[in-house]
Symmetry: C2
Subunit: 291 residues, 2 copies
């Protein structure tokens, strides 16, 4: 199955949820505007391919879980772009939500994308025990115990000098926890033993870290077209980044080592059944960058 | 048990959640600033007293469910007050969240209060089946199927002439569904039969309606001190209200009839065991206004 097929399933799950939500057309329009903007959809892909790597066959319920994490991610992008936050006019090469609609609409669209996914997961066809674990993991990854706390730390640190440990705490929360969720969730729906669940969490943390280092490198080295958004905005915002703290060359090496560790653990949890050219193995390989 | 005792339990449940959330102090501070601003806390009170009216003894898990709906309500107030929304400087007699902190912080504090309660409910000591039903009901009441959709409808209708049916749709979603949740949730945790659950939902809808009619009347007739916020802002914002559409006297009468219906159904679900001077019966009685 190629990535497009997975993504079509994720998008169908999100669209199905909003097709039944006929109260405010404008709200649904604003929500779907940002959902349809695309992006790499790395979180749902990691989840679906990790589920397969654990030997499970995908069902509609898996696509609903994949959709839920993409919805929260999309909601966070809408709020991040607001004038009071990063004040971005473009996202993925298109106008940001508040530029296309207005600020109030963008705030509400983000709110919806935070509140709706829990209902979607709650209705997925897994046992109640599995669903409640997914809800807990998703809430912990995204709210005051995860993503939102990381965004606040990031904001407070702007223009300040922070050390590598503080930078890691910011990213472990801001992006790491929502990138860890796909791995943990794959373990939960596959009912793996506790030891395997811990390894899956560690893989997620490593992938999350790699993702951020990669993003920081690309912000410095790529142009608007490759990035789909304004480059060097970290530099302009005086944000602490891995290249700023480690140097560019060290950052490339750090990315490499982090991905190697993730691949090693992935081989362990799947009993070496995973290759580097397909599925979740290939997704992780694709995060590598060459100086 | 007087209302203060219930509220102390709700506040303790919220504070306990955030005491363990030690990632961003500023985020927790901003969240708790608005939580501690007080207010009537009508939603948790209705839930706790409805649970008791159904013959159950309150446990810490009930307080966690009560806390969850208050958290979502508080998050919605923070976002409602933002400059791009209602642009309010005061709420409950204190500076609004974005005035006390800043806009970005207020956006994130609201986001947290939308994402966290699902984790809180997921960890409550009820069966997984009950918890997952609570999560679904809370999500449906608050997101694109409920509160947020109602806020969008309300915003779009500003300055426009709408009829009574449209006004009812706005409020049934904007405030009605989150006021209905306490009654439905009380039924879910008490495992009442489906027929009783439907009656509880109807009571919630009637109370939600009464609440809004009452609010509209008070906005017109009360002063800053009694209201704890700027009065007549509906009038200034050219919002459609019940007094504007029905006239003030008719609105008083409509409130009366709505509350009578709620009381009648309440007597049915509790087998007449509820009096008008205590518990949920008294809460509903207190919504009456005399012209």
């Amino acid at each position: 199955m190629d990535n497009q097929t997975y993504l079509a399933g994720v998008e169908a799950a999100i669209e199905a949820y909003y097709q039944e939500a006929g109260i405010s057309d404008r709200l649904v329009e604003a929500v779907l505007y940002s959902v349809r903007a695309g992006g790499k959809r790395i979180r749902p892909l990691l989840f679906l391919q990790m589920v397969e790597a654990l030997g499970q066959e995908l069902t509609p319920a898996h696509y609903q879980v994949a959709a839920s994490v993409e919805m929260i991610h999309t909601g966070s992008l809408i709020h991040d772009d607001l004038p009071a936050m990063d004040n971005d006019d473009y996202r993925r090469g298109r106008l940001t939500n508040h530029k296309q609609f207005d600020e109030a609409t963008a705030i509400l669209a983000g709110d919806s994308l935070f509140l709706d996914p829990f209902g979607l997961v709650a209705a997925a066809d897994f046992s109640a025990e599995i669903r409640i674990k997914l809800v807990k993991a998703l809430s912990d990854a995204s709210g005051t115990l995860g993503m939102v706390a990381g965004q606040m730390l990031d904001m407070v640190s702007e223009g300040q000098s922070i050390d590598l440990k503080q930078l890691e705490t910011i990213h472990a929360n801001k992006t790491g926890k929502l990138l860890t969720f796909p791995f943990v969730a794959a373990g939960l729906v596959s009912e793996v033993p506790a030891k395997t669940l811990l390894k899956l969490q560690k893989i997620g943390e490593l992938v999350g870290l790699a993702f951020q280092v990669r993003d920081d490198i690309l912000d410095l080295t790529a142009d608007f077209e490759a990035l789909g958004k304004t480059p060097q905005k970290d530099l302009l915002a005086e944000k602490s980044t891995y290249p700023a703290l480690l140097g560019l060359e060290e950052s490339y090496a750090f990315l490499e080592v982090t991905l190697d560790q993730a691949r090693q653990l992935l081989a362990e949890v799947t009993n070496e059944q995973i290759s580097s050219i397909e599925g979740v193995g290939a997704l992780i390989e694709r995060l590598r960058l060459h100086a």
